[in-house]
């Protein structure tokens, strides 16, 4: 299982991860090696074996929806790279 440079760029796009050309080359090599190692799982017969998403098998845990104190807006905004008028500032979403 060898990944092409094109596939690596496609995964990076899905992850919204900028990569340099050097990164693309390096990941092509490293990810291919790692994925080859995963082939070992094909040896395991998992017919009729259900998947485990979480090991405890707890059911949904519900609580009453009650109003309680939370962080203040200015505390939350304190870490914002850019803010304006009490909001997070982003670049234009629609162009």
């Amino acid at each position: 299982m060898r990944l092409s440079a094109e596939e690596v760029r496609h995964i990076a796009l899905l992850a919204r991860l900028g990569l340099s050309e050097e990164d693309v080359e390096k990941f092509q090599e490293q990810l291919s090696n790692i994925l080859e190692n995963f082939e070992i799982l094909k040896q395991v017969d998992t017919t009729d074996v259900p998947p485990t998403a979480q090991s405890l098998e707890l059911n949904n845990i519900l609580r009453d929806d009650q109003v309680a104190p939370s962080c203040q807006p200015e505390e939350v905004l304190a870490n914002a790279p850019q803010q304006e008028g009490g909001h997070f500032k982003v670049k234009a979403v629609l162009e």
């Binding site: 919204r16 485990t52 090991s55 939350v76 234009a92």
Partner: protein, 484 residues
């Protein structure tokens, strides 16, 4: 003995009887930090002023006769656990300037118990790594030999305890990140059962695997920290509703009537013969203490590495999607479009291993590959979990090595991700099954520590503490200190 070398239970006696003040204890820890940090680099942030203020508060509380076992005791918190008003960086450029507006639940619990926080522990970036070399700031070094790694990802927390900069620390463990460094540094480390400790305020890596746990100088201290941090939490719906016992009651000096399984698959090909010898000697000691020991087989062990490196990166790729440069953290704005800004933020904010895992996870979850990788891994996960459940119907605990080797050299594996991943081969299956495991010091090979790993059934921490305690009392490996 210097004050910073005390265990929690020793310090508590001196504090409660007013022979030592919390301020004196904090000063001893802070002085030690000043003297050894230039060599070890265990801490991202040293919180000197905060520690002294918390120590003064602890002294007032002790004067009122209200000391809990952790009141006034200096601690280090791993830098992926939120501490209100104190930077929580995950050792990443992405969060270098992030100051949380709230405390993690474990932080709240320890503050209520009277913790004196002396600093935040360095780690592999976003807890992804096995050597603490993936920190975006600096690698932490092993106090037993500074040319070697301390293990990871909780390397800073572990070294702070091994080097007596703190009396205990909190780490997090997704595939061995508490236990592997504990074994590499002659420290006691526990990964509790999945759900045993609230993860509210722990920066998420792989949500079906992550768990917070203690790093301590002996097993008694491990029980004391467990008493303080365990329990369900309305703010973490994956925390388990089970009652929390008094773990110190489990500490018995013999093992009569206990049945221990030794899975042959954990003595892997390529294991250092001297490490195996230490572990076999430790198992013989457990037998001497009254345990019945039997070799067993866990045949799916060899698949755990592949299962882990599909599931953990997949969950990480989803969890780390939040770092978009908008709400907090590193942000590149000098870009054309919003998408471009996001891509650049992530390109320059994340280090190589984090990017590698985001790529791996995104691939495993992408259209056409989900069934072949992620779903397949989750099915094999079921087989690994069932295998453990079966073993625990017959055995009280399962005993194994922690790592196949002693601590490796700095730089040795950093360019070879597969070799680095293999160093966690004995610790990964535990997170996959969600069971608890305890690592205790088990001797030395050429002056480098070896750790014994004890695993138990879900919520079986008391049995692990009992085995660990009896073993520890019968030797004294944990009392050996590195010359720094």
């Amino acid at each position: 003995m210097k004050l910073n070398e005390l265990t929690i239970h020793e310090a508590h006696q001196l504090l409660a009887s007013r022979q030592v003040s919390a301020v004196e204890l904090a000063q001893a820890a802070l002085a030690r930090i000043k003297s050894v940090e230039p060599k070890l680099h265990a801490l991202v942030t040293v919180t000197e002023e905060l520690a002294l203020e918390q120590a003064r508060q602890a002294d007032r509380r002790i004067a009122q006769g209200q000391a809990s076992p952790l009141t006034g005791v200096p601690a280090v918190i791993k830098d992926n656990i939120c501490t209100k008003g104190v930077a929580t960086t995950c050792s990443s450029k992405m969060l270098q300037n992030f100051v949380p507006p709230y405390d993690a639940t474990v932080t709240v619990k320890l503050l209520q118990a009277g913790m004196v926080m002396v600093g935040k522990g360095n780690m592999d970036e976003f807890a992804m790594g096995s050597s603490t070399e993936n920190s975006a700031f600096f690698p932490t070094l092993n106090p037993w030999d500074t040319s070697r790694v301390p293990g990871g990802s909780s390397g800073g927390s572990t070294v702070s305890v091994a080097a007596d900069e703190a009396l205990y620390a909190l780490g997090s463990d997704t595939g061995g990140s508490i236990r592997q460094p504990a074994g590499f540094c002659n420290v006691v480390g526990m990964k509790p059962t999945y759900g045993r400790v609230s993860r509210f305020g722990l920066v998420a890596f792989a949500s079906s695997l992550d768990q917070i746990g203690p790093l301590t100088k002996d097993v008694t201290d491990c029980a004391l920290v467990m008493n303080a941090i365990c329990g369900s939490d309305p703010r973490d719906s994956t925390s388990a509703p089970h009652n929390v016992p008094d773990y110190t009651k489990a500490l018995l000096p013999q093992l009569k009537g206990l049945r221990l399984g030794i899975p042959k698959e954990y003595f892997v090909k390529g294991m250092q013969p001297e490490v195996e010898k230490s572990i076999r000697a430790a198992i013989a000691k457990l037998e001497e203490l009254g345990a019945q020991v039997e070799e067993i087989s866990l045949p799916h062990t060899g698949y755990a590495l592949a299962v882990y490196y599909i599931i953990a990166p997949s969950e990480a790729s989803a969890n780390l999607a939040r770092y978009d440069g908008v709400k907090y953290g590193f942000s590149v704005r000098e870009a054309g479009s919003m998408w471009e800004a996001m891509e650049k933020t992530r390109q320059f904010g994340f280090g190589a291993e984090v990017k590698r895992r985001i790529m791996l996870g995104t691939y495993a979850l992408s259209a056409g590959y989900y069934d072949a990788y992620y779903l397949k891994a989750q099915r094999v996960r079921t087989l690994i979990r069932r295998e453990f459940e079966q073993a625990f119907q017959e055995f009280d605990a399962v005993v194994t090595p922690t790592s196949p080797t002693v601590p490796f050299k700095v730089g040795e594996k950093v360019d070879d991700p597969l070799q680095m991943y293999l160093s966690d081969v004995c610790t990964l299956p535990i997170n996959i099954a969600g069971i608890p495991a305890l690592v205790v010091p088990a001797g030395f090979v050429d002056g480098l520590p070896v750790g014994l790993q004890i695993m138990g059934k879900h919520f079986g921490e008391e049995t692990l503490l009992r085995v660990g305690y009896a073993y520890e009392q019968a030797n004294g490996w944990h009392k050996r200190k590195p010359h720094i």
